[in-house]
Amino acid sequence: MLATIRSATLAGLEAVPVSVEVDVGPGLPTFTIVGLPDAAVQEARERVRAAIRNSGYEMPPRRIVVNLAPADRRKEGPALDLPIALGVLVATGQLPARTVDGYLALGELALDGALRPVPGVLSVAETARRTRARGLLAPAASAGEAAVVEEVRVYALDSLRAVVDHLIGVRPVPPAPPPVCATGRQASSLDLADVRGQPVACRALEVAAAGGLNLLLVGPPGVGKTMLARRLPTILPPLTRDEAVDVTRIYSVAGRLPAGAGLVWERPFRAPHHTASASALAGGGVIPRPGEVTLAHHGVLFLDELPEFRHDALEVLREPLEEGLITVARVHSVVRFPARFMLVAAMNPCPCGFRGDPQRSCRCTPAQVQRYLARISGPLLDRIDLHVEVPRPPTDAVLAGGPGEGSAAVRARVVAARARARDRHRYAGDGATADSGPVAPEALVFVRRCADRLVLGARATRRLLRVARAIADLEGVEAVQVAHVAEAVRYRVFDRYAPTPT
């Protein structure tokens, strides 16, 4: 007898429908899975066999063939355990075929029949909506994220037995409620007020947050570059619901969502180590999985010790920095992942780290410093809007100084600034002038003076104006003024790190 159960498998962030066809026929007892299964799917045979037996059903000693259609697409992971088990039960007449009609099912089975969470359930729920499924049978621990898709009835079930009981109406389960829109989301334990004695760096962080600009922090080891970067998400505007769904989908597919979580409401902060490979940043695998740039989508990607990163790994960043997404090409598929993040990078001012430090003397020759700075490729540096030096604060400023401004106050200004920028873009259309908006004539004269005096190229000048624009937005001023440009100049130290002719 033949049974067909609907399920889905992941391709990038999307889930594509899969039909699980189970045929139970005469012949020697075997259990075969065809249709490009990977190793985890092959092992489903043993889990399904044990789960069926231990749930009180019968595993017939007959010839069982499972086909996963479409047969040319590679299937991955243990999420197909549940549909295979249901197919076996239907095909052996232990479960009426009409009860499973129209349902999408997925979940990993334990040997005792319990249902375990699997990655990407939110994406599967979206597929269920698209294909107008009757409902989604999902592991209880994964149902919260799936219930975000409100048009789909999601049934949270914790075992094979519970699934069958629900389907035959012995113990029906109500659809899982959509997760509470957590507007009063849990506050992060980090706060900008923790940073003492570094008003300039805090201000640069605020400007970067207001403009959604990329930031490079340059300073000796131990001055708190990482501490500053970690607090950037606390001053960024809260995630909107759509953004939260995007982030949740990514984390779900990557298998990084804590069990039972609904939506992710915190802006991601990703800090890959400088030994990370290009595919760790971009994403990879036979069936591509999101990398660090995608996990940082709508959040912050922090690269500490920037010059220590491998050259090919940094090259990966160019596409996302320009287009907000990344293309991962593999033998079987080409996948595009979203990757719109704020880049925060940190580095020492020289190989030994103490250049410009008042307390320690630097042991690097000018040539060594030049080589170190040159390790960051020009194209990457071009895409970083603010470069700010973070000097070591005097000890008394750290110990005695009162707390600076808290994250909440700064965030309020950032939200207001972003709202102004949005309005301006709406009226200006998406032209090139929208980048810096209106600029006061005397400010333009000043920009030209700075460009001459500091020898700025055209691209650096454009970046300078972008930073000035963000400052003007923070102040709530329509046109960029001289003072805004003058402040922005301070956040472009690399424009002047060129060797100084004596």
Binding site: G197, Q198, P199, V200, A201, C202, R203, P349, R355, G356, D357, P358, Q359, R360, S361, C362, R363, T365, P366, E389, V390, P391, P393, P394, A397, G401, R449, C450, R453, I471, E475, V482, A483, H484, V485, A486, E487, V489, R490, Y491, V493, R496, Y497, P499, P501, T502
Partner: protein
């Protein structure tokens, strides 16, 4: 002029007598195990270097290594080296040459030959030396002292190294005065390479000097020898910054052996590069906070800008952000963070004010966000 202008010479040489003397001195420097002290003693005894050169086998006959020296003497072709130096437009200055500084001849081990690019006219001279890895404060102090010394007609002598040396030469040129760079390599080999432009400027407005023949590359052993020439050319040595093992202290030792005055510029007690000057001050070096401190001690006419000190004039806190920033900077360079704390300005206002001052050329910003008043004073 006294009878003994530069013993044993009673007057400067010229013409063929000078050429013979130059060739003889060059020849003597080519001999193994014959150092500046020996050469000076021989010349003083014999009266002329050419005479020493001619009778060299006789002079060394009692030495155990006489054979080797005489062999080198026979093989030496001093005329070739002289021709090479002249082809490279270098002057050879030896004792008896009108440009040879008498002050230098009186040290125990004067260099027998100086290769010179530019014009070696020493006059009253002061050496300004210090650390290669100097702080912004030190660079500023060196440039400022050198500028004021040069403006007062003093020749500033230094070693063209990175850091303090470079700042001293630069300051002297800025002050419109003369400066001499003593090198540890041939004068046609500029080290460090980033000072190529500076070297050209010095050659045009002073002199590059070395006792090493053309094409000699810098070697560690050259620098201590170079340092004795720096102090030997000078009336006094000013140490601006340095660690305990700084080369500046070698120059100080030479200066003391040569009977020169030693000055030190006081630095921050927190800075590692203040250790050498502070130790010198403790040991009795004279304090230099301005060019006048030095000029007064040397009993030279004071600088025209009388009383200019390295300390700013203080300045009452003004109302504009720029004035408030300058008032804090009068006490010395500060990071922008410190300026924000000290002026009470917002980071945004402080940043804008600093940029404006920088564009006006009033302040300069160093690595590490350190802001300093240009040239070290409020009036600079």
């Amino acid at each position: 002029m006294t009878a003994t202008w530069l013993p044993p010479y009673d007057r400067p040489l010229a013409g063929s007598a000078l050429d013979a003397e130059i060739e003889a001195y060059v020849g003597l420097t080519l001999l193994p195990r014959i150092g500046p002290r020996t050469i000076k003693a021989w010349v003083q005894a014999a009266g002329r270097a050419w005479s020493v050169w001619r009778h060299l086998p006789h002079l060394v006959r009692r030495r155990r290594d006489a054979a080797a020296i005489v062999a080198a003497w026979r093989a030496a072709r001093p005329a070739d080296l002289v021709a090479l130096a002249r082809r490279r437009r270098q002057d050879l200055v030896v004792p008896g040459h009108p440009a040879y500084p008498p002050r230098l001849w009186h040290v125990p081990d004067p260099p027998p030959v100086l290769f010179v690019r530019g014009v070696l006219a020493v006059g009253p001279a002061v050496a300004v030396v210090g650390a290669r890895r100097a702080s912004p404060y030190g660079l500023q102090a060196a440039a400022r002292l050198a500028r004021d010394l040069a403006a007062a007609g003093i020749t500033v002598v230094s070693g063209l190294a990175r850091g303090i040396d470079g700042a001293a030469h630069g300051g002297a040129l800025e002050g419109g005065g003369r400066t001499i760079a003593v090198l540890g390599a041939g004068v046609d080999v500029v080290y460090p390479p980033e000072h190529a432009h500076l070297a050209e400027a010095i050659a045009a407005r002073g002199a590059l000097v070395s006792e090493f023949p053309p094409g000699t590359v810098p070697q560690p052993g050259h620098f201590p020898r170079r340092n004795r020439v720096i102090s030997g050319l000078s009336l006094a040595v000013v140490v601006v910054e340095g660690t305990e093992d700084s080369g500046a202290l070698v120059t100080v030792d030479c200066a003391l052996a040569q009977g020169r005055d030693v000055f030190a510029v006081p630095g921050s007690i927190f800075s590692p590069v203040s250790r050498a000057p502070l130790a010198l001050l403790r040991d009795g070096a004279k304090m230099a906070t301005s060019a006048d401190d030095i000029l007064q001690e040397l009993q030279l006419p004071l600088a025209s800008s009388a009383g200019a000190t390295l300390r700013g004039s203080g300045g009452a806190p003004g109302s504009s952000p720029a004035e408030r920033v300058l008032a804090v900077l009068a006490a010395g360079p500060a990071t922008v963070d410190v300026l924000v704390a000290a002026t009470g300005l917002s980071p945004a206002d402080a940043a804008a004010a600093i940029t404006a001052l920088e564009l006006q050329g009033v302040v300069e910003v160093h690595p590490g966000q350190v802001v300093a008043v240009r040239g070290g004073g409020m009036h600079g």
